[in-house]
Amino acid sequence: MLDTTLDSLDLRGDFYTRNFQPHPSENRLILNMGPQHPSTHGVLRVILEIDGEYIVRAEPVLGYIHRMHERMAEVKRYEQYLPNLGRIDYLHALAWNWAYVGAVERLMGLEVPKRAEYIRVITCELNRISSHLLWWGAYLLDLGAFTPIMYAFADREIIMDILQRITGSRLTYCYYRFGGVSQDIDDKFIEQTKELCKYLRPRLKMYKDFVTDNIIFRKRVEGIGIIETEILRKYGATGPVLRGSGIAYDVRKTKPYSVYSEIEFDVPSYELEDAFGRYLVRMQEMEESLKIIEQCLEQLPAGDFILPKAPKRPKPPAGEVYFTVEGARGEIGVHLLSDGSAYPYRLKLRSPSFSNLSLFPEVVKGTLLADAVSILGSLDLVIPEIDR
């Protein structure tokens, strides 16, 4: 006999929708935002229960670009896993490179040459600027401003050209090696980077006049998506999301790794707690990154760019290591366990976007649907990093 109930006909959505709302309710609408929604920057799906224009409940659904990077680590040798790191967070690939390489170095007790550390800082900060620039353009695109992304991409192009010369890639970098970097930087790179710093400063000022002071933009971000400190702590948010709520926690400053302790820079934080606070943090971070790059170029020592004795096919001793670096989105952690063989025993990738997104259902309760887009954008999500 044909069963014509709602369940059997699959009319009430797929597994996740049914799990989200087992029984139909009056006056409330279940809305699927994504996975092909432009404001979700990739393939994130959010199930929303809305009452009129207001959101009652929200639940992100993940896994649309899940690649099981952690399993891949267990079947590949240490050095074979390097290209994977550029693909976890494609916007700040070098920070992931660093987290993994740094974890293995700590496990093996490798001492990285000073010059290599400086090169790492310079390239990582360049990458951070390009990541923030893309976020800036894309966020404004979400809010309905089309032009800024053009300016952002024009500037980003210069950074990508600079990094391409020495890393060989434009987006998914695989530049750091155990004990150093794969290629030395030359005078042309230094000259280009210095020019970039000179060029970007007035551009950032122009961005401020152009967007930050703009009344339409301000109305879309001020007082929207307020995240309290307590929520941040319980969900483990890091990065600009945390600093936008007034907590100046930055791994580079609080627990300096590499040569960050030798460089002077500030950690911008705003106690606004809203989307505007997070916006301001990122805009100021770009200026701080420029400051770091200029100092590093001045202090750049001569020497090896990679440890001469560095093993190309490492076999770290058995042990555990947890190493974190500050990425563009927050604290990137690599938890590595080795049993002494050439393959990692277990590798856990702690991605900042994962924790940052997990507080979204809490924040979005009771806001307008249009504001949810603004909040989602202000969290600066990179979906491949969440899904891994």
């Binding site: 597994f15 996740y16 799990n19 993940l62 896994g63 899940h66 099981m68 952690e70 399993r71 267990e74 700590r106 496990l107 007790g109 941040l232 702590r233 319980k234 969900y235 483990g236 890091t238 945390l242 907590i247 926690y249 791994v251 609080t254 627990k255 058995a318 042990g319 555990e320 290591v321 947890y322 190493f323 974190t324 604290e331 952690g333 938890h335 366990l337 080795s338 049993d339 002494g340 025993y345 277990r346 856990k348 702690r350 994962f354 924790s355 997990s358 507080l359 809490e362 899904d387 891994r388």
Partner: protein, 168 residues
């Protein structure tokens, strides 16, 4: 199952945490606790102002090892809680009542290892296909290593602390 490699870890008494040597691992503190004490300890950490950073699991010869990473924002000092599930147990209390951020991390562990978290409000697959019941990070029997082989630090217990005195 060999219990020799476990050393002192199994000697942890209820109500106590074993403070392990940290070495080069990168934590300020490393604690080994019994599964039944987990909620108690986590509540204490919450009162001390720790932020939840990460939850991860791994399969070893003795069973499953769960590692909870906590962090303090003012000084960046990390704390790792380690809980061992032995004798085929695949269940542990969920800490999502104290730290709601654990909801997703626990779902991920459920995905990858099939560990069931009791009192979890929404324990469905997070990243994997809900139709397939596969746990990709489970290891083949001959690939599993004993705890002492991958965490030499777990052998050296510095002292036992009462859970109530943890904040000090």
């Amino acid at each position: 199952m060999t219990k020799e490699g476990l050393g002192h870890v199994l000697e942890v008494k209820p109500g106590f945490c074993a403070l392990l040597a940290t070495g080069k691992v990168g934590y300020k503190k490393q604690l080994f606790i019994l599964p039944d004490d987990l909620l108690n300890v986590v509540k204490h950490l919450d009162e001390c102002g720790y932020a939840l950073e990460n939850i991860t699991a791994l399969e070893i010869e003795e069973g499953f090892l769960l590692v909870y990473h906590f962090n303090q924002w003012n000084n960046g000092e990390k704390l790792a809680l380690k809980v061992l599930l032995t004798d085929g147990v695949k269940e542990i209390d969920s800490i999502s009542d104290v730290y709601p951020g654990a909801l997703w991390h626990e779902r991920e562990c459920f995905d990858f290892f099939g560990i069931v978290f009791k009192n979890h409000s929404n324990l469905i697959p997070l990243l994997l296909d809900p139709k397939e019941n596969i746990h990709p990070l489970l290891k083949a029997k001959n690939k599993r290593q004993p705890l002492a082989a991958i965490m030499p630090e777990s052998e050296k217990i510095e002292q036992y602390i009462k859970i109530e005195e943890l904040g000090k």
